[in-house]
Subunit: 245 residues, 3 copies
């Protein structure tokens, strides 16, 4: 059983995080909220995403799973203004998700979840923690996109740096310690990532002013931020690229 | 003879209605105003459109006809702001339409009207009348476009419904009687239409808050609305699609 | 040596003028400012552009030259808001231009200037001078683009006219003397130009309310306007097209 009402903005933020990695996802529903654990088709990144029951205006659910086509969900959400109430209901008999925006009802076929994995983000020992402003990271990414398709995240006791090296040009975003919200770094750490993935992840941060990054050297980056004004949480894990030098 | 001045917004609305069905149209001009009777190339829909002399700031005309390229007219109108005055004059000698927006003059070649029909909307006995808010219909159409290329218009004594059934998903817009401006329906009526045509027609309603729909079962829909704040009127007739069930 | 700070809007205007004609340009730097003399690849038009030291917030330079990729410069400028300070520095050792916007640094490879000419705008005896409002010219150009790919500039003692003749339609923008800022014309003069070039040039006028045009009959047009609120100046020369009548 699943029946809930939620503001359009909250559901857009939730769906936006998932859509960075996959078009279809298994919604794990229980009385406490909705969770999605997903991995991208190339197995480069994964996400652990939770939207608490408190993020909904009304929420009533028992343990169940639904395979949701995220693109279709997005189509319905585009009909709604940010503050519109979205009514969601699982139609068990017909195996459909009913989505209502004002007087409009869309009955969405669900996707088979049989083949969908439930990836768990592993416990990694990442020695560095950087908390940076989302807006700063976004600007660094936009600058990087012009010169390269990968980006290095570099932390040192003095600050954090995002560096993108192209064949001709290079871009760097330097955030000294005083421009960071938090920096916990004893030794220099550097890892290289696909700019495309990193960019999509940072752009999925809508309401959280800050992003927490856990880093190592040639290790994955773990990124965390709140959604739904603290009534939900997202954790991304992105695998490093091996430097070909 | 034809010489007139009109606000850009009024002419944009008039041209917008025509452009839903055809690129070229015969303007039937007389001292009372300008009328266009047009049919689309596939003969699925027709329009009867009138802009009264009162809709113009200045208007002076004798009986005549002009074949107008609606796309070209749109190009000139895009140069104007909504409140700009457009001066129109038929140059009989050169068979051109002179269109002036401020200091800019465009001399437009006219189109041969010899092959253009003057379709009259037939008198049909459509038992149901629904008057709905344009904005509601627009939202229903946008939702439908995601799931199907046709739409059913359904009326009952309880209300009006717009239903679009795709292979996987369905969308419905339900407007109970209290959300309608007017409902005159003794028995349930349902007809199926091309969503593309219906959508273009509803989107051509710019200044009229409401749309009048006359319906039957497996019959055409007749839609009517005012243009130019009541100084003009549009009537669309759209043929039904046969349900393949 | 070259090290300067400048508001993003000023540098955007400067780069915008150059980009109408070429993707790469030689920046001639000296203590008084930066000059670019460029010609387009088809040798139809040239520009003489200067940005005075006064247009910069800080400016310090000795005589030197830099080959700049204008598109790359534009990429960095798009990261900045209009009032952001851009820091520019020539890295002599690595032959790069360092561009800083807030915490972002882009190191741009420079372009070889060996093959770049330094065209000087010739002294032409153009008998007519017209000073027109930029906004009026822009509207005339937009109207012309719908009918033709060339435009005639016509001056007479009564006023200035921009005429575009297509196969079917024609467009004219008429500016009688009283709508011009200045008109100095004893005899009628008319020259025909590529609309594409003329359009790009007029659209590059951002902060100058007026454009000075010097004209003759079947002669180039020389256009002049200020950039950076008077702390810089642009002169375009555009060759005429020969009328094929």
């Amino acid at each position: 059983m699943f029946e809930a009402t939620v503001r359009a903005n909250v559901l857009k933020e939730f769906a936006g995080v998932i859509s960075t990695l996959t078009d279809e996802a298994k919604f794990i529903v229980n009385p406490k909220g909705v969770t999605v654990n997903a991995v991208d088709p190339a197995h480069v990144a994964m996400v652990d995403l939770t939207l608490n029951a408190k993020a909904f205006e009304k929420y009533s659910a028992s343990d169940m799973e639904m395979g949701v086509d995220i693109e279709k969900l997005g189509e319905v959400l585009r009909l709604a203004k940010g503050d519109d109430q979205i009514f969601l209901k699982f139609d068990e008999e017909k195996n459909k998700l009913i989505v209502q925006v004002e007087n409009i009802t869309r009955r969405m076929s669900l996707v088979d979840t049989a083949g969908m994995s439930e990836p768990k983000i592993p416990n990694l020992n990442l020695p560095v923690k950087v908390v940076a402003k989302t807006a700063e990271l976004e600007r660094g990414i936009r600058a990087s996109e012009a010169v390269s398709d990968h980006v290095a995240l570099i932390a040192s006791p003095e600050g954090f740096e995002l560096v993108s090296e192209g064949e001709m040009d290079s871009v760097s975003l330097k955030l000294p310690k005083k421009l960071l919200v938090e920096l916990n770094c004893k030794e220099r750490a550097k890892s290289l990532f696909s700019l495309d993935y990193f960019s999509k992840m940072i752009k999925a941060v809508i309401t959280s002013e800050n992003v927490v990054m856990n880093l190592g050297t040639d290790y994955p980056v773990k990124m965390e931020f709140d959604i739904a004004k603290g009534n939900g949480h997202a954790t991304y894990l992105l695998a490093p690229r091996i430097e070909s030098e």
